[in-house]
Amino acid sequence: MTVESTAARKPRRSSGTKRATGKTAAAATQSAEPQLVQLLTPEGERVADATSAEFAPYVADITADDLRGLYRDMVLTRRFDAEATALQRQGELGLWASLLGQEAAQIGSGRALRDDDYVFPTYREHGVAWCRGVDPTNLLGMFRGVNHGGWDPNGNNFHLYTIVIGSQTLHATGYAMGITKDGADSAVIAYFGDGASSQGDVNEAFTFSAVYNAPVVFFCQNNQWAISEPTERQTRVPLYQRASGFGFPGIRVDGNDVLACLAVTRWALERARNGEGPTLVEAFTYRMGAHTTSDDPTKYRRDEERAAWEHKDPIERLKTHLLASGGADEEFFAALEAESETLGKRVREAVRAMPDPDTMAIFENVYADGHALVDEERAQFAAYLASFEEGN
């Protein structure tokens, strides 16, 4: 049969059509609910089905120490995130995009990376930044309005945040093409959201990466929402399925399961390093908070939905597991709590101490090699400003 799958879901309610559903000549329907790679249940138990057996080897080396490390990463990331939200409320930041609920997806994937791999984030990858060793206070500059991205991308192989939805997937693909040209075995990971999957650029990135067999992992955090739009405004089939039509594998992983995210990302990165090209990972997760501090989710989503996801909390799940398996004791959690406090304090102080940029910075770094007009405007503006200082 040459006919590809049809929609797993019914046509949307609002499509306005009153027509009957006629018989199709041919329609191979995919399973309605896609499977999820999961290694740790919401109750903190290790999964032992066939799928997990396939991916478990990718985390076979993970010791209790590593698990505590992952837990620590998630806790500190969440703490940093909460601090930033608070700082926004206090007027220290203009905006904040919280990752609340997405810690496992970010730490799991982030910890799968090697130092020489390269990350292309959206604006929400604070957990990945943490894994890369980017000082969290550096992330706050753009939200405070003192810069558009304060860190050196090459310092930690962590690119600047990209706000325009989807653009970075092409940069990631190009970077990955460069890795291939260099004969290196590094890989690239490109983060994007469920909403972003609709952008032309993202689909062009799929095409380019497939055609050039680029070593890139497309890591989609499907947090169910693009601001106020649920995922069915973007697609009527599960997003991981998008990849197959471009000729590379797509896989859905429990985005609230840090172990599964680690395993699946390692697998995808291994493919990249082995010259097998791109992979799409859909981390199925949930945006527990508002889209950003400017957003008001009560306008568009029900409290019950959020409540249902509380139960799948990525941090609680690992905590339960650590406790049950004896991987960590109360001392560990207490020490971590203290460390969190210290981090919060450091972030708070660093933000408050962050100086406003110098006015003339407006004219800096517009060009690498200079530009006569910028020079002219800089000089004119300096003279204009000076005219006040001279008490003109």
Binding site: S14, G16, G94, L95, Y123, G141, M142, F143, R144, G145, V146, N147, H148, I163, V164, I165, G195, A196, S198, Q199, G200, D201, A226, I227, S228, E229, R233, Q234, S294, D295, K299, Y300, D356, P357, T359, A361, I362, F363, V366, H371, L373, V374, E377, F381, Y384, S387, F388
Partner: protein, 326 residues
């Protein structure tokens, strides 16, 4: 009572509501325009009242939004498209300049493109990158598009009505920093022409020409100048394509001096065209070169620098002084 005091945001909302109400072919499309009512709430309540078929949350893809709006226009609809912020219009730029702008001419007039593209634009809201830009010149240069921007609630209401009624594509730049400024709207008045400038304040020594968010600033500058005994006329251009050069010329022939103010970068901004053309039209009238106040040839800076970057009272008054000094 048809006269009501309302914000620009409310005026736009009311105008869209009226359009949806009176013409079943009018549609609203965009990201988050439905339940959320748009990130600025300009479409607040419209989906609730007119349904998901008329007020359409779209996939997150601006080219797709404009491209499908074109198709809907070909089918006889009149889509009003929202671009969430100025900096996000560029993925749709190809569809706008290559298709929307040219379809009517390509078809030798046999199809029309009554599509409005709403763009909240400009700075001064303390936002992150891409949320504060003023790209109007990039649209005004393109034949086939009309480009307008209201500066007050009444114009917001009526210009939106006229834009939707227009059989040409209209790029409708909404001065987002002024959304909450209030003004009187007479919803039964007979509006002026969409593409005519308006003298917002009379004066005799110098003309300030502006549009959108800068009109208020220019009025403040004129008031400040008046205290120093300078009589400044303020012309609200309202339309950047076409520009009402006759209107500007009439003012300049009276005042003999012109300063154009916009947030957009000066270099190749709308002010450059006004300077060039008014100089040509008024060569023997001008006592001073047309001066321009606007953004620099730099990316829009981080929020903590925007007050310095944006034209403010001092910079406008400085230009007024420089002009008067000729």
């Amino acid at each position: 009572m048809a006269i009501e005091k309302m914000s620009i945001a409310k005026a736009l909302n009311e105008s869209l509501r009226k359009a949806l109400d009176t013409d079943p072919k009018v549609l609203i499309m965009g990201e988050d325009v439905g339940k959320l009512g748009g990130v600025f709430r300009i479409t607040d309540g419209l989906q609730k009242d007119f349904g998901e078929d008329r007020v359409i949350d779209t996939p997150l893809a601006e080219s797709g939004i404009v491209g499908t709006a074109i198709g809907l226009a070909l089918r006889g609809y009149r889509p009003v498209v929202e671009i969430q912020f100025d900096g996000f219009v560029f993925p749709a730029y190809d569809q706008i300049v290559t298709q929307l702008a040219k379809m009517h001419a390509r078809a030798l007039g046999k199809v029309k493109m009554p599509v409005v593209v709403r763009i909240p634009y400009g700075g001064a809201i303390g936002a992150v990158e891409h949320h504060s830009e003023s790209p109007e010149a990039l649209f005004a240069h393109v034949a086939g598009l009309k480009v307008v921007s209201p500066s007050n609630a009444s114009d917001a209401y009526w210009m939106m009505q006229q834009a939707i009624q227009s059989d040409d594509p209209v790029i409708f730049f909404e001065p987002k920093r002024r959304y909450w400024d209030k003004g009187e709207v007479d919803t039964e008045a007979i509006p002026g022409e969409l593409h005519k400038a308006r003298v917002a304040r009379e004066g005799s020594d110098l003309t300030l020409a502006a549009y959108g968010p800068m009109v208020k600033l220019c009025l403040e500058a004129a008031a400040a100048a008046a205290e120093e005994g300078k009589s400044v006329e303020v012309v609200d251009l309202r339309s950047m394509s076409p520009v009402d050069f006759d209107g500007v010329q009439a003012s300049v022939e009276k005042t003999r001096r012109l300063v154009v103010v916009h947030e957009a970068p000066v270099f190749l901004g709308v002010g450059s065209e006004i300077a060039a053309r008014i100089t040509e039209r008024c060569f023997y009238h001008l006592e001073a070169p047309v001066l321009r106040v606007g953004g620099f040839h730099t990316p829009y800076p981080p929020a903590r620098l925007e007050d310095e970057y944006l034209p403010g009272l001092d910079r406008v008054l400085d230009a007024v002084d420089r002009s008067l000094a000729y």
